[in-house]
Symmetry: C2
Subunit: 204 residues, 2 copies
DNA sequence: ATGTTAATCTTGACAGTGTCAAATTATAAG
DNA sequence: CTTATAATTTGACACTGTCAAGATTAACAT
């Protein structure tokens, strides 16, 4: 199930087709978008025939789920790394979190779209494995925001869960508007982030 | 181009196919979602053959643009009607605006998804006509928020444009999370709206 | 080493899809 | 009534995701 034979795959069955498909899919998605991903072209990229894929993924949606799952792993890693930069005031950490979130989404627009987009989450198309990987991402945000509440830089009058949902909605909405280009220019990313931070911070 | 002959169309060419297609498309979209819309099934619904559509819309995207345009007209009408309820404090009006926005999106999820979704706005697939109809919607929000700034219930330290973008991002993000069911339950809509309002309002 | 089992990959096929060109029909204009 | 113009249909093409059946190869037990 892992690497069956370590190296030297030439005219193999294929070696590790699953990983190759994931790589190629992620690459094609990031360059052309989710909606332009064709399983047949993907098979061509990898040099394998069209329905070979079905021995590693139940269907196209399962493949997308797997790519999204990898995206979440990457997202969490980046976010945690950012959160561990110590010598900062809480307010600066919040600001950095906001800017980091938006910049990551703007740098990986297609992947962000896949991870947080409708096709996967709507109609229960997210499989259990993806949910298990995605949940820590939300939990991470919930923790951060609870912490900022306790540190006194966010209002404390509301349940942390609700506040997390609203703050995340702000970030998510901002990311979507920028990515989709809906009356929000990507030149003003930092301006918008600063404005968002100012609005989130407890005013006193 | 309008109604060629007023009434009594039976075994006509079809009468007014364009309108019939729009109606059928809107209906099918709202019941099954944008991604499930098939031009051929749509033609069946209307009782016409597959490529009749192409004499009224350049392609599928043009049809979707037209449906979205109708959605914006409806959205603007509803929003303006809500905004004209007089006897209220400014803060209550803001609250009502937020609740109204979210409830409308939750009541017309598929249409909202089409209007503000990626497939139309990304990659410049929104045609000029749609942009002309959509722009007043954004202008309407910009006006409202500028007004609330002047009335002193929103912070005045930021440019109205930026603040509009961020507030709209909050609403848009909330709508998306609820519609797509991404870790936001639709049972708690009002709780989340109240939380959002509390965060937006200038705290003093 | 050999025969068996199980995994992997390919080929052929099917039902869909959006879209175009050419042919057909009905409406409007002269 | 004839002509011109718009609306609609039929046939076709290239493409999509997915499945069933057959072929190929790896892993395993003896």
């Amino acid at each position: 199930m892992q690497q069956t034979t370590g190296r030297g795959n030439q005219t193999y069955h294929h070696g590790d087709l699953r990983a190759a498909l994931l790589d190629a899919a992620a690459q094609r998605i990031e360059s052309e978008g989710v909606e332009a991903l064709s399983l047949r072209k993907l098979a061509d990229d990898v040099g394998v025939s069209r329905s070979a894929l079905y021995h590693h993924f139940r269907d196209k949606n399962a493949l997308l789920n797997a790519v999204a799952a990898r995206g979440f792993e990457q997202w969490i890693a980046v976010s945690k790394a950012r959160a561990n930069s110590v010598d900062m005031t809480p307010a600066d950490r919040l600001a950095q979190f906001v800017h980091g979130y938006i910049h990551w989404s703007a740098s990986n627009p297609q992947l962000y779209d896949l991870m947080f987009g409708r096709p996967i989450w709507k109609t229960g198309q997210a499989d259990e494995q993806l949910k298990e990987i995605a949940f820590p991402a939300f939990h991470f945000m919930l923790n951060k925001i609870t912490q900022w509440q306790q540190e006194g830089i966010l209002a404390q009058s509301m349940p942390a869960l609700r506040q997390t949902q609203v703050i995340w909605a702000t970030l998510h909405g901002l990311a979507r508007l920028i990515i989709d280009g809906v009356y929000a220019d990507s030149e003003h990313i930092d301006d918008m982030c600063n404005c968002a931070v100012a609005m989130l911070l407890k005013q006193n």
